[in-house]
């Protein structure tokens, strides 16, 4: 058997397939430059090529492919939001995710688990019912369930009333899922590259070139590139990039920390979230418990870790799952979340002509990767903002028309 494999491997008939070709020199000009080679930027490039036939596109990534928040999130996919605008938007994303492995011919290990948002207070119960009714109205499967049903869906949970925050019920979101976040980025990258999109890593944008309020190109550490349109998708550094282009965003950059435990036998099927306890946890296909908490209490552009985070998170984890007390942490990390005041993204047009922004993804960016890629590609290709993105426009803050999703955020209350 091993010799058979060796023979197979050495034959020239089966060369190793390289998903993302090694980038060549930068061309002097592109139709579209996408700043940021994370999930959102790669997805936008793929849909520009696949849906709109625009392939003269360069993705400029200052680090390595999908090495920012795409690699640092907790991979939860859901659409149980609070506002009709939010539910409609994230629902489109969930439906795209369900078909994504087929569309990309790349296994993203999509795993539908069901998603429980625990409620520990009367206020949380009320918000859960509110979200369930808005969800059902828009065709999204969510229900408010009570402790007996919670215990049936997740028998591992500590349902005792002898704790600081007893579980009073939960918002049960049936389509809640997790996926392999790296594979989502690689799948988009491979399919975009196959259609002619260039992906340039280690290429940092250092300035935006403008003529009469119209973008004409970008300066990079590898020289100047002129372009027709620019899409910025840089997550935690959105404000810095917008500052180069010459406008301000309603964003504060705040670290969000997460961690995984050592691998355990599969025991936890649903995704468990508690807004009151600032915990969300799921068990990955490798058996690790993927855990996250609330964002840090102040702004910072550093991905350092803090003891406060681990102490707080573990205290609450042990209240929900006391039997995990002997389990060890395997690793931890942080990402830079670009938090908006209303917990919704900022997408679409900017004060600069032909400069488009995909930002404000705070703690909810991974689940929106397909829809934001598709819709931002549509925006860039047509120059018009699709209806589904209209509520998330930058100037909603000028007209005081925020899309308040704080009540549906897992963390940061």
């Amino acid at each position: 058997m091993p010799f058979g494999l060796l023979k197979y491997g050495l034959r020239r008939r089966y060369p190793a397939r390289r998903d993302v070709p090694v980038a060549t020199e930068l061309k002097p000009s592109y139709d579209v430059v996408i700043i940021g080679g994370g999930g959102h930027g790669l997805a936008a490039a793929y849909y520009l090529a696949a849906n709109h036939g625009i392939t003269n596109v360069a993705i400029l990534e200052k680090g390595y492919l999908a090495g920012g928040n795409t690699a640092r999130n907790t991979a939860i996919i859901r659409s149980n939001y609070l506002t009709p605008e939010g539910v409609r938007f994230y629902d489109e994303s969930v439906r795209m995710y369900q078909e994504l492995s087929n569309e990309l011919d790349y296994n993203i290990l999509y795993s539908e688990r069901g998603h429980l948002t625990l409620a520990h207070t009367d206020g949380a119960m009320r918000t859960s019912r509110w979200r369930a009714e808005v969800n059902k109205h828009l065709g999204v499967k969510s229900e408010l369930i009570y402790p007996d049903e919670v215990a049936r869906v997740c028998p591992q949970l500590n349902m005792s009333s002898d704790v600081r925050y007893p579980i009073m019920g939960a918002l049960y979101h049936y389509p809640g899922a997790i996926a392999r976040h790296d594979a989502v980025a690689w799948g988009y990258a491979a399919n975009a590259a196959r259609r002619g999109v260039e992906i340039h890593q280690q290429t940092e944008v250092t300035g935006i070139l403008k003529e009469d309020n119209r973008v004409t190109g970008v300066e990079t550490n590898r020289g100047v590139v002129s372009c027709g349109k620019v899409l910025q998708a840089v997550a935690g550094h959105s404000s810095v990039m917008a500052g180069m282009a010459g406008f301000k965003l309603p964003i504060r950059t705040i670290p969000l920390q997460a961690c995984v435990s050592q691998p355990l036998k599969p025991f936890l099927d649903p995704i468990i979230v508690s807004g009151s306890l600032h915990v969300y946890v799921s068990q990955s296909d490798r058996g690790e418990l993927v855990m996250g908490g609330s964002t840090d209490p102040y702004t910072l552009y550093s991905t350092r870790s803090s003891l406060d985070f681990k102490e707080g998170l573990m205290g609450h984890m042990l209240e929900l799952f006391p039997f995990l007390s002997e389990v060890r942490l395997l690793r931890q990390w942080a990402g830079l979340a670009d938090m908006t005041p209303d917990f919704s993204p900022v997408m679409g047009l900017t004060p600069i002509v032909n400069y488009y922004v995909d930002s404000g993804w705070g703690t909810w960016g991974f689940k929106a990767t397909p829809v934001s890629g598709k819709r931002m590609a549509e925006t860039v290709a047509t120059g018009k903002v699709p209806d589904i993105l209209e509520p998330f426009r930058l100037d909603r803050f000028d007209t005081f028309e925020q899309v308040g999703e704080r009540g549906a955020a897992s963390v940061g209350h």
Binding site: S239, K248, L249, P250, T253, T299, L300, S302, P341, F400
Partner: protein
């Protein structure tokens, strides 16, 4: 553990403090346009570098100012707000002010 030097209480654990945002000038509420007011309320400089910020020591309800580097979390300097706010700031609407004086 991260330590902040409170001008009133000396070095204390950062968990005793609450972040209050960047120190920015408030436009005159009576004369500011909607756009100016929205800018003041929602838009952020979100600077990567040394920023002058409001911080609160919760236990003593003491607001002060810290200069903090948002790139590496170094707290450069802390001082009482009276160092930069030399006069009392009133928030009353103009006609109210006249009525009570």
């Amino acid at each position: 553990m991260k330590i902040i030097h409170c001008p009133l209480n000396g070095p204390r654990n950062i968990s005793e403090f609450v972040y209050g945002g960047e120190v920015v000038d408030m436009p005159d509420p009576a004369s500011a346009s909607d756009a100016e007011w929205a800018d003041h309320v929602f838009l952020e400089n979100n600077t990567r570098g040394v920023v002058r910020e409001w911080w609160l020591h919760v236990a003593t309800a003491y607001w002060f100012i810290a200069e903090r580097d948002t790139a590496n979390e170094e707290i450069v300097r802390t001082y009482p707000s009276s160092d930069i706010f030399k006069e009392r700031v009133t928030f009353a609407a103009p006609d109210e002010e006249q009525g009570t004086s």
